[in-house]
Amino acid sequence: MSLTVLALPLFARWLAETAQRQGRRRTWHAFAPQASLDAFRGYKIAQLIIAEDDTAWFAGVTSLRYGVDTLAKCRRRSCRPPGLDCRCGFYAFRDRSEALHVLGGLGGRHPARSYVLLTVDLDGAVLEYESGFRAQRQRVLRVEIPDACVRCLRGGTVTSAVTFMAHPQFRGEQLLYERTLLARMALPAGSAPMRPLCEAHVPESSDSRKLDLAALRRLLTTEVALLPDAETPFKTTA
């Protein structure tokens, strides 16, 4: 009985997904691929994760882990991202303002997660949508960090950051903050999202590592800067 209860919704979901896949494939097949040498510029948000061994990567909204120049992968073996009937690939908005809007929404809802704004170039096979792209390859050109202490944000105030820290606030904290089981497992022990902090919230423990923009640039091997005040969503809404 319990198995039936579990299996029925899963079967219904599989049926719906199969029907949707056919529709998506038909839609995309109506467009002939246009060859070009000009990559598409896009904007997106991600968490910047830093591990104890000085490796850094991004945990995105749809991809769990990617670097500065990455080829997309799909969980389905037969799928080559961006699959015409799939949801895989690197997503990005066409307009910077849309990515900033998402950054403001998520930052306000989950201040412990601390997202950054990425400027990316997308190439390879690229599917173009009304407001953005889904692509096979992505190159992160610029990382912009909101200049707001995440601990102060939780209290509803906006304070400029003096340093960026990537230390787990307590053991296994990612189990609380990440949305999916896969995302929780993708964050190895000792790694943590980079968080902008003000002087008052810098932890006193000696094992905490402070990073500045130059150190982040070296880690990521790409441009890292603060998000301009006028664009920092928390500052404009405060």
Binding site: T27, W28, F31, A32, P33, Q34, A35, S36, L37, D38, A39, F40, V61, T62, Y91, F93, L122, D123, G124, A125, V126, L127, E128, Y129, E130, S131, G132, F133, R134
Partner: protein, 44 residues
Amino acid sequence: MDLGRPVARHLIRRPHEVIDLDAEVTLDEPVADEQELSTETPER
């Protein structure tokens, strides 16, 4: 992430993927529009 309706499909290649780096280049071959230089002194 909802990006709206599909608009177009693209295949974008990076410049190094387009240029054939393994292609042999022979510099000694005469070029079609190249003419031999005349040794004669121009008449005045």
